[in-house]
C-alpha cells in the first residue's frame, strides 16, 4: 500500500486533549462527590436532618454545627447532605424522561418526515406556545403537589427541546451516503434510525442534557420554593432556601449553604456538558 497512514496524535496534541478533558474531569469529580454524599448520607451526616432541637435554634456556624442550625434547631449540614439525595434525583429523573421521549420522537419525525413530522412538530409548537413555568405549574396544580407530579410535568413539557435538536440532525444525516448505503444493504428502518443515525445525531442533545440538568435542578428548586414540589419537613435545597428566607438578614447561613450546593451541582453538570461537547467535537 502506498497510501500514507493517518498520523497518530503527537505528545503535545495529547496534552491539549487532556487539558480539554480537564473540564470534564472536574465535572465528573464534583458529581461523583455529590453521589457519594447522597449514597452515604446516613453515615456522613452528623445529625438527623429532621430532628428538631429547641435549645439550639438559629445558631451560626460552629464546630458543633459547621453550617449552623435553622429556626427549628435542625443541623443545616445534615440537611444539605440529605438534600443531595432529593436534588440529584430531581436532576437525573427530570432530564432522563424528557431525553428519552424527545430523542425517540425527534428521531422518528426527522427520519420519516412528511405527515409524521408535521404532526409531531405542530405538537411541539403548541407546547412551546406556553411559557415553560406556567405550563409546569398548571400541570402540577392539576396532578397535585409532590415530586411525582413534578417529574410527570417535566416529561410532558421538557421533551420538545430534545425532539427539535434530534429532528434537525436526522434531517441532515438521513441524506448522508452511509444512510443511503444502509438502505441499499437491506437494513431495516429501525436499525438505520437507531443504530446508524441516532448515535451520530445524539452528541448535541447529550451535551444539551447536561445544561438542561442545571435548568431542571433550578426549576425543581423553584417549584419546591413555591410549595408545589418537595413537602416539608423533607430536606431539599430549594425548600431550605424558601424556609430560610424570612431569616436571611439575621441567619444568613440557612439560605447560603443550600444555595451554594445548588450552584455547585449546577456547575458540575455544566462542566460535564462542556467537556462532552469538546469530546464529541460538537463545536467543530
Amino acid at each position: 500500500m502506498s497510501e500514507p497512514l493517518a498520523v497518530t496524535a503527537p505528545l503535545a496534541g495529547r496534552l491539549s486533549l487532556f487539558r480539554r478533558r480537564g473540564t470534564l474531569a472536574v465535572g465528573v469529580f464534583l458529581l461523583g462527590a455529590f453521589i457519594v454524599l447522597a449514597l452515604g448520607a446516613p453515615l456522613i451526616a452528623p445529625y438527623d436532618p429532621i430532628a428538631q432541637d429547641a435549645a439550639a435554634r438559629l445558631q451560626g456556624p460552629s464546630w458543633l454545627h459547621p453550617f449552623g442550625t435553622d429556626n427549628f434547631g435542625r443541623d443545616i449540614l445534615s440537611r444539605v447532605i440529605w438534600g443531595t439525595r432529593i436534588d440529584l434525583q430531581i436532576a437525573i429523573i427530570g432530564v432522563l424522561f424528557p431525553f428519552i421521549i424527545g430523542t425517540t420522537l425527534g428521531t422518528v419525525a426527522g427520519f420519516f418526515g412528511g405527515i409524521v413530522d408535521a404532526i409531531f412538530m405542530r405538537l411541539v409548537d403548541i407546547i412551546l406556545a406556553f411559557p415553560f413555568l406556567v405550563l409546569m405549574l398548571s400541570i402540577i396544580a392539576i396532578l397535585g403537589p409532590g415530586l411525582g407530579s413534578f417529574y410527570i410535568a417535566m416529561a410532558l413539557v421538557g421533551w420538545v427541546s430534545y425532539a427539535r435538536l434530534i429532528r434537525a440532525q436526522m434531517l441532515a444525516l438521513k441524506n448522508h451516503d452511509y444512510a443511503v448505503a444502509a438502505v441499499s444493504l437491506g437494513f431495516s428502518r429501525t436499525r438505520i434510525m437507531f443504530r446508524h443515525l441516532l448515535p451520530n445525531a445524539a452528541a448535541g442533545s447529550i451535551v444539551f442534557a447536561m445544561s438542561d440538568a442545571v435548568l431542571v435542578l433550578l426549576s425543581g428548586a423553584a417549584i419546591s420554593y413555591l410549595g408545589l414540589g418537595v413537602q416539608p419537613p423533607i430536606a431539599e435545597w430549594g425548600v431550605m432556601v424558601a424556609e430560610g428566607q424570612p431569616f436571611v438578614t439575621t441567619a444568613w447561613w440557612i439560605t447560603l449553604f443550600p444555595g451554594l450546593s445548588i450552584v455547585t451541582l449546577a456547575f458540575a453538570f455544566s462542566m460535564i456538558g462542556d467537556g462532552l461537547a469538546d469530546l464529541f467535537g460538537v463545536h467543530e
Partner: protein, 558 residues
C-alpha cells in the same frame, strides 16, 4: 535570459502546532518568466495551494508562518513587505482564481460590481468609468451581452460562466501574474476545455504569466510551458513540459504519469470479445425508464426529467460504464436501479423480476446488489469500526452462519487489499483511498451479483484512482461480478469498461463497445466529450475539436 518576473527562493512555511514546528513548504525554489504558464502538479496535501497563498501572504491559518526564503516580484521582496504594499500586490500585481466559483463570488452582489470593485480600488476610477472598464473585461472573458449581464447575480449563471466572471474579476486590475488554483476541477470537461482555451487566449493577448495548479497532468500537458511537480511540501522536479513528460527523472513523477488515465490510441481491429451466452437473462433490464422530480414552489409546480426514457440491458459479468456531464442523470439512473429513487414510469427488471412490483422484489434486490459511493468518508458511518460495519452487513444479510462472520470480515479485507488491523479502525483515522477500499469491502460483503459504483474515484488522487480502478478490474474478473461504473472521467471508463453508455440530459445518446464509442463516436455530444479530454501528450491539442463538437459544446454550455 532576463530576470524572471517572479523568483521564489528557498521559501519555507512552517506550522506551529502543539507538537512543535512542522515544515509544510520545505525550501521551495521556483521561477516564473514573463508570459510563461507554469503548471504545479501533485497530490492533495502536497502544498501546491499553500505555495500560491504564501506568495501573496494569505496563509489559511494563524498558526502558519513564513519561516525563511524570499519571494521577489520584479525584483521587489514580498516576504517582508508592509501590509499596505501587499494590498496593492494582491489583485493589482497577482490575481487569483479558485476551484469553486460559487463559493468565491458574493451571491448578493451583481457580477459586474464584483468585477468593478477591484478596478475602483486599484485604479481609482469613478463608478461610471469602472463600470465601463468592467463591462469591457466581461466581454473579453466571453460574456455575450456584458452590458446587460453586468447587472445579473451569480446564481443566474452556469458554473462555467461563473468561472469566467471570476477570471474577469481577477483580470480587471490588469495583474502581471494570474494564479489559477484548480480552476476547472469543478467543471465538466467540455466547459473545462472552454475555460482553458480562454486562459490561453488571455495569456496570448496580454502577455500574462500564469501559475496553474492542477492534479490533472492532461491539463498541464496541454496548457503549460513548464511543469513543477510537488510532493510533501517540496518541489521534486521542475522542467520544460515535453522533456519532463517524456523523460521524468524523479520516481514520483514517473508514478504520476503512469497513473494518469489516458484515452489510448485506438486500434482498428476489434479484439476478440467475451462470448455472451445466447438467451441469458440480463442482470439489469431497464425499459423506457422515466424519473421525474417535482420542482418549483407551491403555485408554480413543474417537474424535471432527471431520467428521460432510458432503455438499457446489462448482461451477467459485464462491466458497463456510464459517462456524461453533471446533471445528465447518471446518478439518478443508478439510484433508480437500486430502488433508492421512486420511478415515474417504465420498468426495471433485476434478474427478470420487476423491482417496482413490491416489497418482496425490493428485498431480493437488496440481497443481490450493492453500491460504492463517491465520497469515501461520507459513505461510512463515522462511529463504527470497519469490522463492526462488515459484521453488521453479514449478519443482516444472513447468507453465512454467524460463527463464520469474523473470518469472513478478514477475507473481505484481503480481497480489497487492506490489512487485518483495519478491522479495529474507524474511518476518521484512515485515508480516502483506504476508506474507499473499506466501502468496496462493504459492497462485497453482500456477495452481490451487481455492484454500482457512482463516481467512486472522483474524490481521490490519481495514484490512488489507478489503484482503485485496478482493484475493480481484478474483482470483476475473479468474482464474475457485474459492474456498472459511473464516472465523468472518460479515460477511466475507457480503461475499465467493455461497454460504455453516454448520457446527456437524462437520455442515452450513444452506447456501444468502449473502443468503438471513444474512437469513432457517432453522436456529436460524445465527440465533444472525447475531444475535450486533455491529452497527456502535448502534441495532441485539445484546442481543436471537430467543428460539430464545438457547436454542440456551446449549445450545452448555454
Amino acid at each position: 535570459m532576463s530576470a524572471p518576473l517572479l523568483a521564489i527562493t528557498d521559501l519555507t512555511v512552517v506550522h506551529d502546532g502543539d507538537a512543535g514546528t512542522r515544515a509544510l513548504l520545505d525550501a521551495v525554489s521556483l521561477d516564473l518568466a514573463q508570459g510563461e504558464v507554469l503548471g504545479l502538479v501533485g497530490e492533495s496535501g502536497s502544498g501546491k495551494s499553500l505555495l500560491c497563498r504564501s506568495l501573496v501572504r494569505l496563509l489559511p491559518s494563524s498558526r502558519l508562518r513564513i519561516a525563511g526564503g524570499s519571494v521577489k516580484l520584479a525584483g521587489h521582496e514580498l516576504t517582508d513587505a508592509p501590509e499596505s504594499v501587499m494590498l496593492k500586490v494582491r489583485g493589482g500585481e497577482i490575481g487569483m482564481i479558485f476551484q469553486n466559483p460559487t463559493s468565491h463570488l458574493d451571491p448578493v452582489m451583481r457580477i459586474g460590481d464584483q468585477v468593478a470593485e477591484g478596478i475602483r480600488f486599484h485604479q481609482g476610477l469613478d463608478a461610471r468609468a469602472a463600470r465601463a472598464a468592467a463591462t469591457d473585461v466581461l466581454a473579453q472573458v466571453g460574456f455575450s451581452d456584458p452590458a446587460r449581464q453586468y447587472d445579473s447575480y451569480p446564481h443566474e449563471f452556469s458554473g462555467g460562466m461563473r468561472q469566467r466572471a471570476m477570471i474577469a474579476a481577477a483580470l480587471s486590475c490588469d495583474p502581471k501574474i494570474l494564479i489559477a488554483d484548480e480552476p476547472t476541477t469543478a467543471l465538466d470537461v467540455t466547459i473545462q476545455a472552454q475555460i482553458l482555451r480562454l486562459l490561453m487566449d488571455i495569456r496570448a493577448k496580454r502577455g500574462l504569466s500564469v501559475i496553474l495548479i492542477t492534479h490533472d497532468l492532461g491539463i498541464v500537458a496541454q496548457v503549460c510551458d513548464r511543469i513543477a511537480v510537488m510532493r510533501h511540501g517540496r518541489v521534486v522536479e521542475v522542467g520544460e513540459k515535453r522533456g519532463l513528460l517524456a523523460a521524468p527523472s524523479h520516481a514520483y513523477t514517473r508514478s504520476l504519469i503512469a497513473s494518469h488515465p489516458s484515452l489510448p490510441e485506438e486500434e482498428a481491429a476489434p479484439k476478440a470479445e467475451k462470448l455472451q451466452m445466447p438467451g441469458a437473462v440480463p442482470v439489469v433490464d431497464i425499459e423506457k425508464l422515466h424519473v421525474r422530480f417535482a420542482s418549483g414552489g407551491l403555485f408554480k409546480r413543474s417537474s424535471v426529467n432527471a431520467v428521460d426514457g432510458v432503455t438499457l440491458r446489462v448482461m451477467p459479468g459485464e462491466t458497463v460504464g456510464i459517462v456524461g456531464e453533471s446533471g445528465s442523470g447518471k446518478s439518478t439512473l443508478a439510484r433508480a436501479v437500486l430502488g433508492l429513487t421512486p420511478v415515474s414510469s417504465g420498468a426495471i427488471r433485476f434478474d427478470g423480476n420487476d423491482i417496482t412490483s413490491g416489497r418482496a422484489a425490493l428485498a431480493t434486490l437488496r440481497r443481490e446488489t450493492a453500491m460504492v459511493f463517491q465520497d469515501p468518508f461520507n459513505a461510512l458511518n463515522p462511529r463504527m469500526t470497519i469490522g463492526q460495519m462488515l459484521a453488521e452487513v453479514l449478519r443482516v444479510q444472513g447468507k453465512i452462519e454467524s460463527a463464520r462472520i469474523p473470518a469472513r470480515c478478514g477475507e473481505l479485507l484481503d480481497l480489497v487489499g487492506l490489512g487485518r488491523e483495519f478491522l479495529d479502525r474507524k474511518p476518521r483515522s484512515m485515508s480516502g483511498g483506504q476508506c474507499q477500499r473499506a466501502g468496496i469491502a462493504r459492497a462485497l460483503a453482500v456477495d452481490p451479483k451487481l455492484i454500482i459504483a457512482d463516481e467512486c474515484v472522483a474524490a481521490l488522487d490519481v495514484t490512488i484512482q489507478a489503484q482503485i480502478v485496478e482493484l475493480f478490474r481484478g474483482l470483476a474478473e475473479r468474482m464474475s461480478l457485474t459492474l456498472i461504473f459511473i464516472a465523468h472521467d472518460l479515460a477511466i471508463v475507457r480503461n475499465l469498461c467493455q461497454r460504455v453508455v453516454v448520457m446527456h440530459r437524462g437520455a442515452i445518446v450513444e452506447e456501444g463497445r468502449s473502443e468503438d464509442v471513444f474512437s469513432r463516436p457517432r453522436h456529436a455530444y460524445t465527440a465533444a466529450l472525447v475531444a475535450a479530454v486533455p491529452h497527456i501528450d502535448p502534441d495532441k491539442p485539445l484546442l481543436a475539436p471537430p467543428k460539430m463538437a464545438t457547436a454542440y459544446a456551446h449549445a450545452a454550455a448555454n
